[in-house]
Structure formats: structure tokens, C-alpha cells
């Protein structure tokens, strides 16, 4: 029985090695070597300059802001879906997932035509003789793009936790004197934390590393770390430096994940957190 199960796991192990472990080792190797071979920390040292630090800081800041907005907007959406009748629920989830089936680039271009100088919004404003706005090519547009593209990754895990939640727990809390707000604060939200943490991770990771959104909606006027990596690989052909930046980015994502998962299981140390 046991050995059978082990054999069944082999294809997965092979898959893991080929597609995850090997590339990771390659990236690590590149990051630690000169272009023409020989080990070095030079690539990392190069990153430790104020210019690159600023890029990293800006990336983390924008990803953080987007994640917070995704949470603030996504949580109520997840709640609305989870509270709908079962018949309506599937339709609502489908509506959420449907845009994700469309090409990522296409969706982002769509925002450009909406926000552009001669875009839909400014046309409407112009029609009412209102001053046109600079909506594109700024931080706001990038954050908007990130929220739009990544919010399903926040809504779906929270929704699935909320939908599975035992409704009698909410009734029990009300029975003991908790009004709607207290119920949310003391029962619903703490119990949905696993979903929230999955959501945060799944939004924060692509938001830190995206290069398409800042390029299109930010107009490439300022760089995010994803653009930097892309640039090193596709224009500068400095794979070694590009790999080093990737590794640094990965470390920051891991740190962010470690911080969030630290709060994952309040059941263990009850009363401490909530």
C-alpha cells in the first residue's frame, strides 16, 4: 500500500525537479557568477545602490497598496457572493472568473483605451465640457491595473472559506449578544483568515513581479522591479544581474509570506491576537 503510493508520487517529483528545482538552481547559479563564468557576489553588490533600492521600494509600495485595496474591495465582494443563494452563487463566481479567461495583455490594453488622453472617459468628460484628466501613465493607473487584474485571486479564496463556514457559529455569536459588527470582528473575520492570507499571497506575489502593467499603464516612465528583470533578460542580455534581481525579489516575497502566515492560526494561541 505505502510503496504503491510512493510510486504514484514519482511523476510529480520528476515534474517538480524539471520545472521548479532545476530552473531555480540555474537562476541561483547565474546570479552568483560572472557573464563568462567564475563565482562572484558582484551581481548582488551592484543591486545595493540607491537607484535600484528605489525601484525595489517603489515595487513593494505599489504591490502593498494594490494588495490592501484588493482586500478592502475583495472581502465584501466575497461576502456578498457567499451569502447569495446557491443558484446565484455559481453565476456570480463565473462572472468573476470569466475575464480571467481573456488574454492578460488584452485586458490591460482595454484599460488604456478607457483611461487614455483620447480615451473613453476623457471623451465623456469632454462631451459635458469638463476638463480632461491625466488618467494614464501614473502610479494610480498602475495600481488600478493591478487591482483589476489580481482581485479575483483575493475574492476566490476568501469566498471559498466564507461559503464553507458553519452558519450556526454566527447564530451562536448573536445568541450570546453580538451585533452584526461584533459577529464580524470576533467570529467571521478570524475564521476567514486562512482565505485572507491565501488571497494576500496570491495578489502580492504577481503584483510585485509584474512588468506588463507598469509598462503599459505606467507608460514605462518609471521602473518596477519586474521591468528591471525583463530589461536585463531581453534588452541588456545581462542574465546574471537579472537573475540576482529575481532572487532578491523572491527573498522579499518569502519574507512577506512569512509575515502573513505568522498570523494564520490564531486557534493555537487564542486570545492573543483577537
Amino acid at each position: 500500500m505505502k510503496s504503491n503510493q510512493k510510486i504514484l508520487a514519482y511523476p510529480y517529483v520528476v515534474w517538480l525537479v524539471i520545472f521548479i528545482v532545476v530552473p531555480l538552481i540555474l537562476v541561483l547559479y547565474f546570479s552568483l557568477s560572472f557573464r563568462d563564468g567564475g563565482l562572484t557576489l558582484e551581481n548582488y553588490r551592484r543591486f545595493m545602490t540607491p537607484i535600484y533600492g528605489k525601484v525595489l521600494y517603489r515595487s513593494l509600495k505599489l504591490a502593498f497598496i494594490s494588495t490592501v485595496f484588493c482586500l478592502i474591495l475583495g472581502y465584501p465582494m466575497a461576502m456578498i457572493i457567499a451569502r447569495a443563494d446557491i443558484s446565484k452563487r455559481n453565476l456570480m463566481v463565473l462572472l468573476f472568473v470569466l475575464p480571467m479567461w481573456m488574454n492578460f495583455l488584452l485586458r490591460t490594453y482595454a484599460w488604456m483605451t478607457l483611461l487614455g488622453k483620447n480615451g473613453v472617459i476623457n471623451n465623456v468628460l469632454g462631451y459635458f465640457n469638463l476638463p480632461t484628466l491625466n488618467l494614464l501613465y501614473n502610479n494610480g493607473a498602475v495600481i488600478l491595473g493591478m487591482i483589476y487584474n489580481f482581485i479575483p485571486f483575493m475574492v476566490l479564496p476568501i469566498y471559498s472559506v466564507l461559503a464553507k463556514m458553519d452558519k450556526t457559529l454566527i447564530e451562536a455569536a448573536k445568541d450570546l449578544g453580538a451585533n452584526e459588527i461584533t459577529v464580524f470582528r470576533k467570529v467571521t473575520f478570524p475564521l476567514s483568515l486562512p482565505g485572507v492570507i491565501t488571497g494576500i499571497t496570491m495578489v502580492f506575489m504577481p503584483a510585485v513581479s509584474t512588468f506588463v502593467i507598469p509598462k503599459l499603464l505606467g507608460g514605462g516612465q518609471f521602473m518596477l522591479i519586474g521591468n528591471l528583470v525583463e530589461q536585463q533578460f531581453t534588452y541588456v542580455y545581462d542574465w546574471n544581474f537579472g537573475s540576482a534581481i529575481s532572487i532578491i525579489m523572491m527573498i522579499f516575497i518569502l519574507i512577506a509570506m512569512a509575515i502573513t502566515t505568522k498570523y494564520e492560526d490564531p486557534a493555537e494561541e487564542s486570545g492573543g491576537l483577537w
Binding site: 458553519d166 450556526t168 457559529l169 447564530e171 451562536a172 455569536a173 448573536k174 445568541d175 450570546l176 449578544g177 453580538a178 451585533n179 461584533t182 470576533k186 467570529v187 478570524p190 475564521l191 490564531p266 486557534a267 493555537e268 487564542s270 486570545g271 483577537w274
Partner: protein
Amino acid sequence: MSQNIIDLKNITKIFDDETLVLDNINLYIRKNEFLTLLGPSGCGKTTTLRIIGGFEYPTEGDVFFEGKRINDLPPYKRQINTVFQKYALFPHMNIFENIAFGLRIKKMPEKEIKIKVEEMLQLVGLQNFAKRSVESLSGGQQQRVAIARALVNEPEVLLLDEPLGALDLKLRKGMQIELKKIQQEVGITFVYVTHDQEEALTMSDTIAVMNEGKIQQIGTPEDIYNEPKTAFIADFIGESNIVKGIMIRDYLVEFANRTFECVDKDFGENTEVEVVVRPEDIEITSAETGMLKGEVITSTFKGVHYEMIVKENGRHWMIHSTDMAPVGSYIGMNIGPDLIHIMEKGA
């Protein structure tokens, strides 16, 4: 009017516009009364409790609390607490925090909370469990935490939905006595739901027997036993043999003109009691060796067992057994000490 703490007036509940679950329920619950809703599964007991607790809105009819209509009052504003059928303990809090939940909402000082919660833990026999997580407890222990969590708030009315269902017999007996004691000492009105007629009989002041969304009879346990109003009640309640007896001293009871060992105590000496023996708890033996002797007057095959009526000194005993004794034969009947149930007379 105002000595009733809860009045249900013409309550009807229809789910999804088609399922009639409660059909014109009228029920008056007096202050400090121990009222039991007794009835088969699916008859609407939980739904009735949920309407009193505010978790369901009656399709028709009104709910009154101390004379005031409370149909539109949300659960958290009602001075009512519930012990839920499925415990509904908060999995993200330890046992202490679960019990303290209601007190925390009332903003009781931390010191007082600690004292009260520990009192409650003591009461339900879980002194050393304060720091334990919910999932590390057995079903019976969780059930006792659920009772403690509701009781600690000292509500005017406590709703209990089969609160002892997960406990073994011994623990259940103990908790029955404990709950009854609390109810009398603290003076809380109990609305208690159970399947178990024996539990209903030993604990209640009043029993409301329900069937198919209707209340069939409301009365004291004796009323319900001795004068069942409907065939349904006679059938539902009458499954036990009930005879008068005298508790001679602890663990010794006299009935049917002889003494029996039993497991009950604390009734005093030479006290009149009612003795309940379930039909399936009577063992058939030969006429010579039986504790009681009698003649089999009917014998019916019921699928899994035989149902026999045995006449003994003018008393009729119902026996359920997989062994069949033919009609007209004389048999002996043995009853084990733990199968003899003693009830206070007029409980």
C-alpha cells in the same frame, strides 16, 4: 398575562412557500418553568426554539416576551441564550474564551469574567480544560462547554436543544440532575428539547408533546403519562412499563410485591416512586427462576423482535425480545439493577 415569560400565539412556519413545519402553535411558558418539547424527529422542535431565539421569523403569529411582542427583535437583543443541538463552539477560541464570549460582549471586568468562567467549568466538570482547544474535546465535553457558555450569561430564558444527546448514560443522569438543580436555584426558565421521554419525565414541570408541527398535548408529566390525549401520545410515551413502587433505601426498591436492587439513590427511605422499565430491558426466563412470573396473553412479531404482553398479578408488562414465548405459557421475567429506572413521584 404577565406571569408568562414567553407566549407563542398562533405560530405558523412555512419554509420556501410550501413546507408547513409549524401549524398554529400556541404555547405559554411561565416564569421559572421547566418546559420540555417532546416529539419525534422532524416534528418541528428545533424550529420552535429558533423562533423563540429569534433565528427564524414566524410566517404567521406572534412571539411575546414578558407581554411585549418581540417578532422583530434580533437575537442579540433578546435575554435568551441557546444551547445549540450541534454545540456551535467557536473553533478559533479555547474553552475559556468560548465560555467568556458573552461576558466579554457585556464588557464585564476581566477579574469577574475569570471567576465566573471558572465557576462554570467547575459546574460542568471541566476544571482543567480552560486552555484546551475545542477540537481536542470529545463530543460530550463539547456539549458541556456549550451548556456552560449559555448558562454563564444568566439569561432569563435558556433554550436547550437536546443538550445531553452526546453523553453516555451515567454522565447524562448526572447532568440531568445538575441542570435541574441549576434551573431551580438560579430561577431560569428552561425550554428543553429532547427525544428521550424518560429525560422529559424526570426533569420537566410541563411537557408539550409535538407531532407533525402541531402541539398534541401540554401537561404535567403525570398527565401526559396517565391520560394521553391522542393515540399518537399513547404510542409515543407508552413504550415503557410504569408501575408504582417504594424506594426502601438507596439502591433498593420495592414493586410488584418484591424488592429489587437498582442503581438509583438519594430518594430517601420508604419514599413512593414511579418505576419505569423499558420493554426491551425485561429478560425472559423459565417460570421457576424468574423474579416475576406471569402468563403471556399476546405475542406479536414486530420485524426484529417479538412484542409480548404478560399478565402478572393483574399488572400488564410489555416485553420486547428476540425470543418468543407462546401465548398462554407461563414465563419468568428478570430485570437487571441498571435497567430499573426510578422516578420521583409527580416529578
